[in-house]
Subunit: 289 residues, 2 copies
């Protein structure tokens, strides 16, 4: 098992703690690795080969990180489905290695001088899908799926204090999360839905009319899908396609609000589907029907 050729992939030839040794061939990706098992050698069989390769690569990458004078780098946790920045902390080498092995976002607490895994108290872990380093090698993204609200206040993320939102200092309403476009629209639609429940009959906004009338809503969704297709069939310009896609999205999102479905749930379906070759699976299902 140990008779390996160093030339196959020198970057992977590193023995870390726990006598992990991982040699890969020059394959393009993990699928290729699996096919070329004759070139894969592992000194320990306690963990899957892929994990060893990742940990070995991580060791090499972490050697290149420009840790600050306290041995830390900035670590930003981001929701893999929504893109929301959940929280920001700091990580040392051990924190990143722990994150890789446990797949739970782990930081170094500067106040307590120790590692801490987000969720170890609240159970709201951030389940890691990938980790990225920036070009300068001094900043890290933990891309993951949170089990629940990330902030200790119960807020979905820690960023709910807007400088540009004049409401906040007056304590008139609740907080405003840092939302990107799609989720900001979702929030607006959701507000309209909440207002519907309490308001008298009056002049309704278009969103409220759609929320109240399923027949109108469904006819609009069919109409907008039709118009989107026409931009292709009738070779309309790109700006028209973007505009019609925006219409499809907006109207479909009102339907999601009626059904109490979050965009994040839809993203999760998409992620699970295409990360498991589900798109091809869908094709098979369609072909059969």
């Amino acid at each position: 098992m140990m008779a390996v050729s160093y030339s196959l992939c020198p970057q992977f030839l590193r023995v870390s703690s726990g006598a992990r040794l991982c040699i890969s061939s020059g394959g393009n990706n993990w699928d290729t690795h699996k096919k070329k098992t004759r070139h894969l050698v592992c000194a320990s069989t306690q963990k899957p080969v892929k994990d060893f390769c990742i940990e070995s690569k991580a060791q090499t990458l972490l050697d290149s990180v420009k840790w600050d004078d306290k041995g830390l780098a900035v670590a930003i946790a981001q929701n893999v489905d929504t893109g929301a920045i959940l929280m920001q902390g700091f990580a040392n080498r051990d924190a990143v290695l722990t994150t890789i092995s446990s797949r739970k976002a782990t930081f170094y607490s500067r106040s307590r001088s120790m590692l801490w895994t987000k969720g170890e108290t609240s159970m709201n872990f951030i389940n890691i899908h990938d980790i990225f380093l920036d070009c300068d090698r001094d900043s890290i993204i933990y891309l993951g799926k949170p089990d629940g609200p990330t902030c200790h206040t119960g807020s979905e993320t820690c960023y709910y204090t807007s400088v540009f939102d004049l409401k906040e200092l007056q304590q008139v309403e609740g907080n405003k999360l840092a939302l990107t476009t799609l989720y900001s629209l979702e929030s607006t639609i959701s507000q309209r839905k909440a207002e519907l429940a309490v308001e008298e009959n009056g002049k309704s906004s278009w969103t409220k009319r759609l929320l109240k009338h399923n027949d109108l809503l469904c006819s609009k969704i069919r109409e907008e899908a039709e118009e989107l297709c026409k931009t292709l069939e009738e070779n309309e310009d790109k700006s028209r396609t973007a505009s019609e896609m925006a219409d499809v999205l907006y109207h479909a999102m009102v339907l999601l609000a009626v059904k109490d479905v979050k965009i994040e749930d839809v993203m999760q379906v998409l992620r699970q589907r295409f990360s498991q070759s589900g798109i091809e699976e869908k094709r098979s299902r369609i072909s059969e029907s």
Copy 2:
């Protein structure tokens, strides 16, 4: 002009450099402010009242920031439309105030000991839509729209080195950006489109078949929109709605790829539309037709 009542909104009573004075009534939001102009008093008329209010509020918020021993806090630039984390730097109080007044993401360069505005050399500014502080008041999000690639390497963002992607160290292919679900799917579809151009006729994936056959693609979009509507009309369960919405999104995104339209462009349309009450405008347009 200076005879103002402190009690109206004490948080806003602050005179910063340039003799800016902004008093607002206790209105709920900016629209309310505009309606109650009798309560708005500004000592200078060089800038719009709203900007003064924001800058005054910012001064108050910045007083609460826990700057580190070098007077800095982490500043993360995020794309308002896609949610992509563009870059991370540090900001001092002046950097944030400059960002607020110029609406261009500005940082403090630790290596050059001076302020720098992202884009001052490359012209790829990050145009600020909002700024958020976290719950601990030691981390800042600059939510903005980049004029072009943010990274000095020409990459869209600085985060293109994945720990979990085994390709990178072997220098086989290009870099893999930190993409969240929707943009990861967009990237996959785009790859399939690129492969179409070079590959021989063979067994095509479902995505490639859709990319090649506009009639099939459009019939699928119409079918999936129909199925999404049915989940509402026939009171199907929430998971069915999420699944059908995922289908609508995926197939519509293939159409976007055929038309060379980016999801980010669609998000921009949505943002511009609903931030300008465009949804209501759309309603008017529809009512007229």
